[in-house]
Symmetry: C2
Subunit: 468 residues, 2 copies
């Protein structure tokens, strides 16, 4: 097809027809334009009729859409609780698609492991992202001001990561001014190069304890070179933690093979588990081993393991209920669990992970993601406004990005552009003062979504230019 054709809706529709994952879209609740305009809760039944009016939702980087299966699974959860009470913890229910509650966390681990590229025993669904970063640092950040005490992170880290690191440093009586090393992009640039990151690591090699970086940077959408950076930092003796908020369920990950030390993520973005839903954690098996070599410190019952903030849910399952108060951690990430987890939250997550499985996993999703994001990029680049009224912050190299493309608008356009997009039923995410983030999620977004976005975005830019 000619370039001109690429600009047509028919071209987008044809891409959808050839998309082997297109059928998954109907497994999601796509808000309609009428829904988004509504100011009261609709009756879901009358609503389904009007679904031809679907909005263009390109905001899965902020909050993923609801899988249709979620309502079914939550209803089954409610029925189990209503009819079994406390027996839901351990009584198997025939033909129920839900695990007994005692196994709900291991069921989630089995589903999430392939998504992050880990052994099942290396992952763990619990608490929330920032909490998990703290729990990991509590175990693995043991600063010594005369040796390793620094934590390296981005200068423009997501605030929660910044606060987490700062408070961890203060917790140990150290000063962020001395122990917190930030990596900033060079003046005028949005993204950081791998070689620059490696140079910062090198500068602080002998005094750094922990490196905390995002798999995908929330603002620019840059996918960092996790294996290269991990290897370089580890070579320098640094413990490497990745914040995978924007990477999990978005790009394929191989945490185990990349030898990542530890990682944490949330499940409300590309994992579609709902607002604020339960987080996850990866601990490389190297770091969670239990040996029977007695040791002077950290020796409980002759067992030696990394001390971590502990709880009964991290205790060996067979003695968890024995109430004997001798901590025997489960080998692996599960030994970092604290509490019995929210079955409601995990049920919601597991429902979404069923759809990931149906999709064929991350490889299939990535194949589509590369195409649909490239299509978005090509439409943006073909716009007469490109590099005049807006620029793209996200790297052009597909290997350096996931689903999200961040677009920086000229000064003073953001508010009008967002308003115009909203009026057209297009949902993207804004980062004040001048950035919009556009994320075609391969599970539910279509090429026509991207086409419609571009049409609305052009109109919005025209309107914003005029209003200026």
């Amino acid at each position: 097809m000619a370039t001109q054709d690429m600009q047509s809706r028919d071209y987008a529709a044809a891409l959808d027809q050839h998309d082997p994952l297109h059928h998954l879209r109907k497994d999601f609740c796509i808000p309609s334009r009428a829904d988004l305009r509504a100011t009261s809760l609709p009756d879901l039944e009358s609503r389904d009729a009007a679904s031809s009016d679907e909005s263009v939702y390109l905001c899965g980087n902020s909050l993923g859409l609801q899988p249709r299966l979620t309502a079914t699974r939550l209803q089954q959860y409610l029925t189990t609780w209503a009819t079994q009470g406390v027996f839901g913890h351990f009584k198997p229910i025939d033909k129920s698609p839900l695990p007994i509650w005692l196994d709900v966390d291991s069921a989630a681990s089995m589903s999430i492991a392939p998504i992050v590229g880990a052994h099942v025993s290396e992952v763990n669904i619990m608490e929330t992202l920032t909490a998990n970063l703290h729990l990991l640092m509590s175990a693995f950040y043991r600063p010594d001001i005369n040796a390793r005490h620094k934590i390296i992170l981005e200068g423009k880290a997501f605030p929660s990561d910044h606060y987490a690191v700062e408070s961890q440093i203060l917790h140990h009586g150290l000063s962020p001014a001395e122990s917190m090393i930030t990596i900033d992009p060079p003046p005028g640039e949005a993204t950081i190069t791998t070689s620059y990151i490696l140079s910062v690591i090198k500068t602080h090699a002998s005094t750094t304890a922990v490196l905390l970086l995002p798999g995908i940077q929330f603002y620019t959408g840059q996918l960092l070179d996790i294996p290269t950076i991990t290897a370089a930092a580890q070579e320098a003796g640094i413990f490497v933690i990745w914040d995978l908020a924007h990477a999990v369920g978005n790009v394929p990950l191989s945490l185990h093979d990349w030898n990542v030390d530890a990682a944490a993520w949330c499940s409300y973005k590309y994992l579609n588990a709902g607002p604020g839903a339960i987080g996850g954690m990866f601990v490389h098996e190297r770091n969670s081993q239990i040996s029977s070599t007695a040791s002077a410190s950290e020796n409980i019952d002759g067992k030696h393991f990394v001390n971590r903030f502990s709880g009964w849910w991290g205790n060996d399952k067979s003695s968890r209920f024995a109430m004997e108060n001798r901590f025997q951690p489960i080998p692996g990430a599960a030994g970092f669990q604290l509490s019995n987890p929210s079955v409601l939250d995990i049920t919601s997550l597991n429902a979404s992970l069923e759809v990931f499985e149906k999709a064929g996993g991350m490889a299939a999703l990535r194949a589509k993601s590369l195409k649909i994001t490239a299509y978005l990029e090509s439409l943006l680049e073909a716009s007469p406004h490109f590099e005049k009224v807006f620029q793209i912050l996200t790297p052009k190299d597909p290997q350096q990005r996931g689903a999200q493309i961040s677009v920086r608008l000229n000064d003073g356009l953001l508010d009008i552009v967002m308003k115009e997009l909203e009026e057209r039923g297009v949902v993207v995410d804004e980062r004040r003062p001048d950035v919009i983030r556009v994320a075609p999620a391969p599970l539910y977004n279509s090429f026509v979504d991207v086409y419609e976005f571009m049409k609305a975005f052009s109109e919005a830019l025209d309107a914003a230019q005029k209003a200026k």
Copy 2:
């Protein structure tokens, strides 16, 4: 009525008739006997017809029953997510009973504050119980081996609390053998007296940093004298944390007036928010203040406050999204938040808290609780097996207990008794090797429940005696 009458079902039914809270029972999903026998998920509609067959569920100390409102509120949550996507965070919906997601945590704080006797700004719904204990200790346990370094807890603490304390001590490079002080009941006794607790505090007064005790002991059901113990420990300069897992929603609490330093709880027991549901935290306003006195340590932007593991959700709401990476904690417990919380979980909790409000709050519930627990005790004491085949571990003084009565059986009876109870559709909780815990929850249990329990328990004891 004569003692003999007290033993009759009619007497129990009359008590129900005079119970001003009896109507609340119909607001809960009570598993039927058929449900408990079923091995597959029932169709909820066909099920409702058979509700005359209600089981006797006296297990709210382990997992509270599901309020009927929960399903409605979760459906509304799902509809909001399905139709609004990311706008659910901030777009008000007319006539929706649910707050916008950005306010869901403050809505929960408003509902929970009267239940624990706190100012709204002193409480916070987040993470899970054990995690919250760790977060509180991370902020307030700052041991100095040459001064205060010990944590006092029960010798028979719930394992998670034991592990939490032990790992906190190890985290600071100290040894549990030296820094962990346990309070045990005298040999042969089940409960600990206040005076004994005070004597342990006195012994370790100058070297203790933190006291961590349960409001209600999980095993014996003993309600500790929170205000007296708190005052004595504070007099000695000790920071006092209460684990309220079994106390919250069970007995009235006045955490603020009792001057408690901090507390944490779960919401799946008497709060009926569902298995593993989100936890809660109390921080006395004294301990969360932010002053502008600059200080050498812990001084961010000229603000001085207790360093705590921090996250963006604890940051001042007005600058939370500004991405400026200068931590400005919300004054109060909310400044201890880390992550955006699970809206699903909080929606479930808030649904149950609506029922608490309908009940008239903790004073009304306690009035019924005192009666129904005394009734249970009187039936137990009137049994020919009392003090021959079983004893009561829970204190006789109603001021020293909540809804739960713990019963210790003679050796070797537990398994048969539990089996016989189960066959009769009676659900209580067992603690191996020989204890059952029986908890009439005033929100949904009836006096007839207690009567039915006692009948089944007598039969079960007879059967167990015979089998022996």
